[in-house]
């Protein structure tokens, strides 16, 4: 078992495990939004799980590093926090901050991270970009809120893993990227009601079951 040093503390990790997972399991919190333990090739897209590794000039995403014996890691340097705060502020700048009316209130990953990173939830109004339409009702059983979604892709991943083929996918590009449902009309209500995994995995309340 590889032994690594994190913030001066020596920990043992399972070989083949990601650095992010190894730290989380030992109770060392590293902000993360797009990672699930089961992923073999994590998307590394949220850009929050930065850490510094001795010998590397810039912070790296911990979900992309496989633990190796002797790694010396710091999770809370100022360079790391700087990047994490910026990433979170960027996510908040496209987020419809209306916590009172959001089902994810008090269990929202963004709220947790804002607290952890000491980032105020409200950006100046000139710096917020919200998208139209604000609600997508095309799916028979799910409602999607683009202005809550952080595009972590977890919903796509769980649907894909569970059903072999995901009925959710990314659509459009760049700044306009959203989650979309192709062929969703053929989806059997019962199957979705029984599953609900995407809505459960969503860290921010962007996917909500219509029936629920």
């Amino acid at each position: 078992m590889p032994t690594i040093t994190v913030n001066g503390q020596s920990i043992e990790a399972q070989s083949g495990m990601s650095l992010l997972q190894a730290c989380l399991e030992k109770g060392i919190f590293i902000p993360n939004l797009c990672y699930l333990k089961a992923m073999t090739e994590p998307p590394a897209s949220c850009r929050l799980c930065f850490v510094e590794i001795e010998g590397q000039p810039d912070p790296v995403a911990a979900c992309t590093i496989t633990v190796a014996d002797g790694l010396v890691v710091s999770t809370d340097t100022s360079a790391v926090r700087q990047l994490q705060r910026t990433a979170l502020q960027l996510l908040l700048s496209v987020h419809d901050i209306d916590c009172k009316n959001c089902p994810a209130n008090k269990q929202c990953a963004l709220q947790d991270l804002a607290k952890f990173l000491k980032v105020p939830l409200k950006n100046k109004p000139t710096e917020t970009y919200l998208r139209e339409p604000a609600i997508d009702e095309t799916h028979p059983h799910l409602t999607y809120y683009p202005n809550r979604c952080i595009l972590c892709g977890k919903c796509i991943y769980v649907c894909q893993t569970r059903h072999g083929q995901s009925s959710l996918s990314f659509a459009k590009r760049g700044f306009d990227t959203v989650i979309s449902f192709y062929g969703a009309l053929e989806i059997d209500q019962q199957a979705c009601d029984d599953c609900q995994q995407c809505a459960q995995v969503c860290p921010v309340g962007a996917l909500v079951m219509k029936s629920g």
Binding site: L83, T86, L90, V94, L151, G174
Partner: protein
Amino acid sequence: MTVANHQALKAVFQRIREQADQRKTADTDGAVPKITIGMATCGIAAGAIETKQTFEQALAERRVEAQIYTVGCIGHCYAEPVVIIDHPDSGFAPIFYHNVTAGKAKMLVRQFLIEGDPCFEHIYGAMETNEMIPSVTEFDRFNQEVRVVMEKCGHINPEEIDDYLVSGGYSGLAQALQMAPEDIVAAIQHAGLRGRGGAGFSTGRKWALAREAESLEKVVICNADEGDPGAYMDRTIIESNPHQVLEGMAICARAVGAHQGIIYVRAEYPLAVKIMTRAIAQAETMGILGRHIFETDFNFRIKLFQGSGAFVCGEETGMIRSIEGYRGMPQHRPPYPVVNGLKGQPTVINNVKTLACVPPIIEKGYSWFRSIGTEESPGTAIFSVVGDVVHAGLVEIPMGVTLRELIFDICGGIPNQKAFKAVQIGGPSGGCLPAAFLDTPIDFDSLTQAGAMMGSGGMVVMDEDTCVADVSRYFLDFTQNESCGKCTFCRIGTRHLLDILERITKGEGQDDDLQRLQDLSLDIKKGSLCGLGKTAPNPILTSIRYFKEDYDAHLKEGRCPGLVCRPLIAYYIDLDKCARGCDACVGCCPTNAVFTTSTRKKGIDQQLCVKCGECVVACPPEYDAVRKVSPPHLVPAIERPAQPENAEDA
């Protein structure tokens, strides 16, 4: 391969080559004049198709015997359509004519081909040194260029494999097949070849890694996505000499042990797609690609994949996803494609130019290649030089030539007596350098040190009438549109950068905007997942570093020094220059902002003016009375005489 096999291979190659020779000789009639026309996209855009048709018609009408020979880009895009006429009976050396319109084509047939008068006033230069006409080799443009990749471009017909064979093509592949694969890798390593697609990574090392990777199947991909705005080197090379690229791919495949090749070309390059498809088919028919190449046991098939033109698909992991049929979204590296690429197979991805350097290296040896360019960046650099230069176009120069030599000697400097302001190298990922850097040698490391980058070879030269803040805005608009949307920094961060630049160029910037641009830029560089996001802020960072006074002028004085940003400029008419009674500018104004003053001169109503600049064009050059100023309040007050209906109101 055994010695006997080497003999057999040589014999096979010899036979293919001789047959090509015979076909060519049967096809060409040495006695009749030969008219060579450049027909790459640059030529066609300038009217080469019409030129060619006119030549054909004129030859037929006047019953003149001559052969028309179409080639790719000769490398003088500023002079297109370009025609070279070799008329042996006239006693002149082959002559290079520029801007050959249909009219000129007719004239050349009549006067030169029939009457033997080469029309001296239309000659650009002779192709060979001679007593009568100055030769192009004496011009800076020609004598400073060194051609490795483009050596055959403009000399051979890209649609005929015979042309390539006759000019020595595919002998590098024949030679490589007689070498041990590790010796091919070693030769490329010794040559010091670095990737021409952007980052300048050692090609030899990449191949060595791919060779070492254990796998039954390996892939070679030629990256011809070429997404930088203003860059068109790769397209031109494919349109002018596709076989050199195919040959480079086959040598690479042999070296690393691959049997499949893919050329990733954007679908917006229809001519390149057509020419490349034809080239692959011809090579397969001749046994130069496909199964049992040159009757050996080496198999290598190349397929063409048409991308739909996303910039991010030029990034290697994005490209692999795109070929696999997914969204073109980059993935975290490592694993690098050489270890885990297309469908998990070890994959070498090289740029068109990198691959085109390979056959000459194998053929002429690595020391020959090293003798060109600099120690750390051997070989040549190819740039498409565009913008405010006299001779825009493709140039191939040895690495180490300075920016000044390239822009002022080879490309003829800045037109219209304007001053040089900046040069943007490396497109949207690159940087913007000021005059103080003109003596920087062009090589991978010097450009990176200066804050720009070699990129894939786009170079935009800008004169004093340029606003660098506006240029940054333009590039950010591009990258923001081309961001794939996967990762937070690039997807949202570039949008904020663009937003700030937009308000600066509108004169609505806020005090801390420069600081915010810089801070956010640095975070985006460090935080983004792929090269697109990591380099997107470069135009901003370099332009703030080198042209801070331009940004300050916008922010603090509401002034655009380049007189570009519309909200910050105004037009007025200089009454000392305006000619009494002249009405040239009146009709051109779309909003009727031009009025007649009490002295029968003209004035511009600032309320109505939309700053289109039409009046500048309309004002006759002998008066040249329309002035542009920034900030707008510098406009001298010129009363608009009360109009009849206003008079009634009053």
